[in-house]
């Protein structure tokens, strides 16, 4: 960071000095601009403090913490089954995906493996929450860049997915459906056929988005080459998910780790993009949404029969030990480091959320960009406030 940062700063100072030599009377005064915490162009309450010189950002610092709920502390006073209702609310657009790594970590400590059918349904619901999450991003992206139409299409089609999640779990936003050892319930009757037809609709939505938004010349000129993150910087900051893959790193935890989920049962493509700019990040998310619909269909084809719950004791005591499990959530790598002391509840849970790392690059990334691009870059990094603050 320091090397690249210094180089940028030096070139900035050099350009300023050159400008000053040319045109002394045009020197501008510095100005501090607060973007947020209540601003229509930011999701939630992230506040960005920018120091401007004319139209250019000299220095920027995100100020998180307006929604800090202290989940790491709260988990220490909960029992293991109670924790899922907390972690549901970390990334509230893809709630089900938050439960899975925690449950898997607890299962790893208890040496319990969920039955194959439960693993399949978990993976299906996981991918559905990815679709629900990212389709909102695709709609919101248009709004942040000044296009209104995509948001209506996104909310229309996201509704189908939320209905599916509600049909299976009973909750639209916070399913709390995952249990240690399996799932609360099996899928309801008719759900599979319904899902197949919705997945077709969602693919049409992705095609529409690709034509309407990604093919749009204004969209391209606003995002191409804006906010470029080189591969090594992305890795150093621990960027994950689509933000990392947009910088050309072929790393996807669905494929690259051994985990008790059903992703290894299907073939799917991990999309990467070499550019690392805002366009690449948005484009990757669009492709991943389409890929997720295909994964869901393939998983429905191979859904095994059997129980959805392994045999676990009624009172869940997790043996002493430490476990780390992370999964490829809609926003990136989400993981839990669970320390148990053989108690009813965890001793310490470290929640590694994707947006925290993804946003920590903002001070580096915003240096030297123009004010309208700040919004583009923040939109393309795609964060959820609950996922930063936890």
């Amino acid at each position: 960071m320091t090397m690249l940062g210094d180089r940028e700063r030096l070139s900035y100072i050099a350009s300023q000095a050159a400008d000053a030599r040319l045109n002394v009377e045009l020197e501008t005064e510095g100005m501090t601009l607060n973007i947020g915490p209540q601003h229509p162009a930011t999701h939630g309450t992230l506040r960005i403090i920018c120091r401007l010189d004319g139209e250019q950002v000299v220095w920027a610092e995100p100020s998180a913490g307006y929604m800090h709920r202290g989940y790491e502390k709260l988990t220490e006073v909960r029992t293991f089954p109670q924790v899922t209702s907390l972690v549901n609310r970390i990334d509230w657009l893809g709630s089900f995906a938050n439960e899975v790594p925690f449950i898997l970590a607890a299962e790893k400590l208890m040496d319990v493996v969920a039955p194959p059918r439960a693993q399949h349904i978990r993976t299906i619901l996981f991918e559905l929450s990815r679709i629900a999450n990212v389709s909102l991003f695709l709609g919101d992206l248009g709004v942040q860049l000044g296009a209104i139409t995509p948001v209506f299409m996104a909310f229309r089609d996201r509704e189908y997915v939320l209905n599916l999640i509600e049909g299976a779990t009973g909750g639209r936003f916070h399913p709390n459906f995952d249990r240690i050892g399996g799932l609360k319930d099996d899928l309801p009757k008719g759900w599979i056929d319904e899902t197949r037809s919705v997945m077709k609709k969602l693919r049409t939505f992705c095609d529409e988005m690709e034509d309407l938004l990604f093919g749009n010349e204004i969209f391209q000129s606003r995002t191409r080459g804006i906010g470029v993150i080189p591969k090594d910087v992305a890795l150093q900051y621990g960027l994950s998910g689509p933000n990392l893959r947009a910088s050309g790193v072929d790393y996807d935890l669905r494929r690259d780790q051994k985990i008790d989920m059903a992703w290894d049962k299907v073939d799917f493509k991990v999309w990467t993009h070499p550019d690392g700019d805002s366009f690449a990040r948005c484009w990757i998310r669009l492709q991943e949404t389409r890929e997720a619909t295909l994964i869901v269909e393939k998983l429905l084809d191979t859904l095994p029969a059997g129980p959805v719950m392994a045999k676990v004791p009624r009172i869940i005591k997790v043996p002493e030990g430490e476990a780390w499990v992370s999964t490829e959530n809609p926003l990136g790598e989400m993981g839990y480091y669970v320390v148990s002391k053989g108690d009813l509840g965890p001793f310490r849970v470290k929640i590694r959320s994707a947006s925290f790392n993804n946003i920590s690059i903002v001070p580096w990334l915003l240096r030297g960009v123009y004010v309208p691009d700040v919004i583009t870059i923040l939109a393309s990094l795609y964060f959820i406030l609950g996922d930063i603050d936890r």
């Binding site: 960071m1 320091t2 998180a64 913490g65 800090h68 202290g70 790491e72 502390k73 709260l74 220490e76 006073v77 909960r78 029992t79 109670q82 790893k108 090594d232 910087v233 890795l235 150093q236 900051y237 621990g238 960027l239 994950s240 990392l244 790193v249 072929d250 790393y251 494929r255 690259d256 780790q257 051994k258 004791p313 009624r314 009172i315 005591k317 002493e320 030990g321 430490e322 476990a323 780390w324 992370s326 790598e333 993981g335 480091y337 320390v339 002391k341 108690d343 009813l344 509840g345 310490r348 470290k350 590694r352 925290f356 790392n357 920590s360 690059i361 580096w364 603050d389």
Partner: protein
């Protein structure tokens, strides 16, 4: 598609670290098919980070945080606030790879090409100061700020240890175990006691476990 991680990779990583750090690597644990833990001396924390990045080849920074190993004097908030506080076993017992101090720093870095990660720990001495990891993993910046305000750990060389979440001037470090969770102090959580076996089910150890009987 690259090869999925194997224990040979993890064992190799431990060997590489040992060769690099010598006796500063105190302990290590490879759980077959799961993960690898190493513990290093506090003064070798920075060198260990550089070795992880450059020698072992873990290019991707995952997280950095701390653990307070002291059991909470307040338990899980299941006590009745009107009753005198229950006696609890307050012996400090560290987890994998052991330890000597109440606070431990732990971090994780992964490889995006070899597809495995290493969890690294270090004891934090009484001065509560550790070297910063920013020169080897730039992403450690915010994680160290979080650990600073939540556990009161200082990071020597960190440029900006302002609070992220807490108001400026907040007293105490909320993630320390002796920092009480006030909501639980005022009103105990009812969820722990109402576990009863269903009719017809064998009453296993539910009764004794259900009534908040824990150390």
């Amino acid at each position: 598609m690259a090869e999925l991680p194997g224990d040979t990779l993890r064992e190799r990583a431990v060997d590489q670290l040992r060769a690099e750090l010598g006796d500063a690597l105190i302990d290590s644990l490879v759980k077959p098919g799961d993960d690898v833990w190493v513990r290093v001396r506090a003064d070798a924390w920075r060198e260990a980070g550089v070795a992880l990045r450059d020698v072992v080849g873990l290019d991707y920074f995952c997280f950095l945080s701390a653990i307070d190993w002291m059991p909470s004097p307040y338990g899980r908030g299941e006590d009745d606030p009107t009753q005198p506080q229950a006696e609890r076993d307050m012996t400090i017992k560290q987890g994998y790879t052991g330890g000597e101090t109440r606070f431990q720093l732990f971090a994780r870095a992964c490889s995006t090409t070899l597809h495995f990660g290493v969890t690294i720990k270090a004891d934090i001495g009484d001065d509560m100061t550790m070297p910063t990891w920013i020169p080897c993993y730039a992403g450690a910046n915010w994680h160290e700020r979080e650990a600073h305000e939540m556990f009161g750990i200082n990071f020597a060389g960190h440029p900006d240890l302002r609070n992220m979440y807490l108001p400026t001037g907040f007293e105490g470090h909320p993630m320390r175990k002796d920092f009480p969770l006030l909501a639980r102090m005022v009103k105990p959580w009812p969820g722990i006691v109402d576990v009863e076996p269903l009719p017809g089910e064998p009453a296993d150890d539910a009764a004794s476990d259900g009534e908040g009987g824990e150390s």
